[in-house]
């Protein structure tokens, strides 16, 4: 048996540490992302959403948007940023791992002296970085609009409300959780289309549907739903912060009433939900990728 230092190879090569290999994986995956058509498409979608909001607010001048500085960010950012985040998560994380199997790119990288965990974490960071670039673009457009209305409407308020800073932070953490979830499903399936489809269904429809069924109709707080936790991104921009539980009774004739219950996660609760989703899904995704076979 040949004795061999773990990091030494032949011809003066010295295999880098796993941490350094994370950086290598991240660098080239990010390069691949920003040159890809998907980045361009995501950029265009973000610009379309921002342009539509810009045009509608400028043309229709809805009171909810323009009554105050905080109201503007609550209506604009609070309502739309989670959608942009989910799209970015799906675009960059939806097939990040399954694509390695389906497109056979894994056969190029995996049979090298590099741990799968280094590749996974590197790819995760690259996807998160690419999605963050989109997130920052959307943030800049939002602030640009806010600054414009702040300068043109009397009594609108000046500067950025401090709540917007919190909302930005919560949204960025939410992006990490969405990415973790996308990577989890991406590691679960070998087909890119199936992993993307499952992520889309769950993030765009599934979670919302379950949340509404559970809270509105059954009256149970949906603390186990990621999108419920993400409510803090918009809620923090409301003054006062929405109550934890709101029961609405609606009469609909003949003395009958219909009762719905709406819950709002507190900031610590929301952060806990988002944080747990991020940690659990990212780790589970990594474990799945470690065990997945290139058959």
């Amino acid at each position: 048996m040949i004795s061999m230092n773990e990091t030494e190879s032949i011809g003066g090569n010295k295999v880098p540490s796993s941490m350094a290999q994370v950086g290598i994986s991240m660098k080239y995956t990010f390069l691949e992302y920003i040159r890809s058509r998907r980045f361009l498409i995501m950029l265009i979608i973000t610009l379309i959403i921002a342009a539509l909001l810009t045009i509608i607010v400028a043309w229709r001048r809805p009171a909810g948007f323009l009554v105050s500085n905080l109201g503007f960010y609550s209506s604009w950012w609070g309502l739309s940023v989670t959608f942009v985040i989910i799209l970015a998560g799906i675009f960059f994380g939806g097939d990040a791992i399954s694509g390695e199997f389906q497109n056979k790119t894994g056969y190029f990288g995996i049979p090298n002296p590099v741990r799968r965990s280094s590749i996974y974490i590197g790819k995760w960071l690259a996807a998160f970085l690419a999605a963050t670039a989109i997130f920052v673009l959307y943030m800049v457009i939002t602030i640009a609009n806010g600054v414009y209305y702040s300068a043109t409407i009397a009594g609108f308020g000046t500067g950025l409300p401090y709540q917007f800073g919190y909302s930005l932070l919560f949204a960025w953490i939410y992006l990490a959780a969405v990415m973790g979830l996308a990577f989890f499903f991406s590691s679960m399936f070998k087909s890119s289309s199936i992993s993307i489809l499952v992520t889309v269904i769950l993030l765009l429809f599934g979670f919302t549907l379950i949340q509404e069924l559970v809270s509105d109709l059954v009256g149970i707080e949906p603390w186990f739903i990621l999108t419920y936790g993400a409510g803090i991104i918009g809620n923090i921009l409301q003054s006062p912060y929405p109550p934890a539980k709101t029961v609405t009774t609606t009469p609909f004739g003949h003395g009958r009433t219909f009762t719905t219950t709406t819950f709002a996660a507190s900031v610590p609760q929301g952060l806990a939900i988002i944080g747990i989703y991020f940690i659990v899904t990212t780790i589970l995704g990594l474990l799945l990728f470690e065990r997945k076979e290139f058959t």
Partner: protein, 318 residues
């Protein structure tokens, strides 16, 4: 490992099951030293599965895959530190250029930063892809991508190469170039373990052959020994000559050389010689032929001979 160490690949009771299907069954195989070993077997025999277990693309159900004595599954980084592998036909991220993709592999493998540029250019030159080095891979044909994969395998100067049908997807010129690369690696004291369906290719570049069928090893030996053991004790070599040979010389002199059992002329410049004995006999005949000054430009174990052996052995296991 250092250049002085002997590279080795070992399968110890290596088994892989997919449900009830046993792809590789208690495979025991140890390959040591600088040489080229052909890995032969029909479709579904377990060749690619074995190579995948040797590169941690899949996990063994039981047994061990060892590279230089290190378990690939439990200590992949150390085991693959001096190994390069091309398994199936890898795809490269389409938006990267060959230079970027190869830099990524060089960085993973720890090629010194000061040498990366030079080594990439040398590797790309060797596979004749210089013109394409800064073009995006997404536009490349399958053969061009395979050339880049071969460049990725040689750029870190590995001591062991695991190649799964390396000429797959290449045009005849590309196939010939890959064979030359493999031959040159043998000259650099590297261990090459390659699966192939092309028996002529294995005959040309390999020293030894391992045959597998239904996940079990049938034979592992030198090509010469395998052909002599399994083809009635006679080996066959093909000789290519620079100029036409006098037929009388074939029947009266060559056919009567020591160990030669028969000699026939297949055309003006090609001979087929059957002989008994092993590598010593093969070397002796070559030496005698050279002394006859008949213009030998090629002397190799006949592919058809290996093919006969292969078909016989595989048939026996069906």
């Amino acid at each position: 490992m250092s250049l002085g160490d002997v590279p080795s690949i070992e399968a110890v009771k290596l088994t892989k099951q997919f449900g009830s299907f046993v792809a590789v069954s208690e495979l025991n195989l140890k390959i040591e030293g600088a040489k080229c070993v052909g890995f032969l077997g029909p479709n579904g025999a377990g060749k690619t599965t074995t190579l995948k277990m040797l590169t941690d693309l899949i996990r063994p159900s039981s047994g061990e895959a060892l590279i230089n004595g290190i378990n690939v599954h439990t200590n992949k980084k150390a085991a693959l530190a001096s190994v390069a592998a091309i398994i199936e036909t890898p795809e490269i991220y389409p938006s990267l250029t060959p230079r970027e993709a190869l830099t990524m592999i060089a960085e993973y493998r720890g090629v010194p930063a000061s040498e990366i540029k030079k080594r990439i250019e040398e590797a790309v030159t060797e596979v004749h892809m210089n013109e394409w080095i800064d073009k995006r891979v997404g536009k490349f044909s399958k053969g061009m991508k395979q050339r880049i994969c071969i460049a990725s395998a040689i750029l870190s100067d590995p001591c062991i190469l695991l190649l799964d049908e390396p000429t797959n997807g290449l045009d005849p010129r590309g196939m010939s170039e890959v064979r030359e690369i493999v031959k040159s690696l043998k000259g650099k004291k590297r261990l090459v373990f390659m699966s192939s369906h092309l028996l002529s290719e294995v005959s040309e570049v390999c020293d030894e052959v391992a045959m597998i069928d239904h996940g079990k090893l049938i034979v592992y030996d030198t090509i010469s020994n395998v052909t002599s053991k399994f083809s009635g004790g006679a080996n066959m070599v093909e000789v290519e000559l620079l100029r036409p040979i006098n037929p009388q010389l074939v029947t009266q002199k060559i056919a009567k050389l020591s160990n030669v059992t028969s000699a026939e002329q297949t055309n003006d410049t090609n001979l087929r010689i059957r002989f008994s004995g092993g590598l010593d006999a093969q070397e002796g005949i070559l030496s005698d032929l050279v002394k006859m000054n008949i213009g030998i430009i090629s002397y190799r174990v006949a592919a058809s001979e290996l093919e006969d052996v292969y078909l016989n052995l595989i048939k026996e296991t069906v």
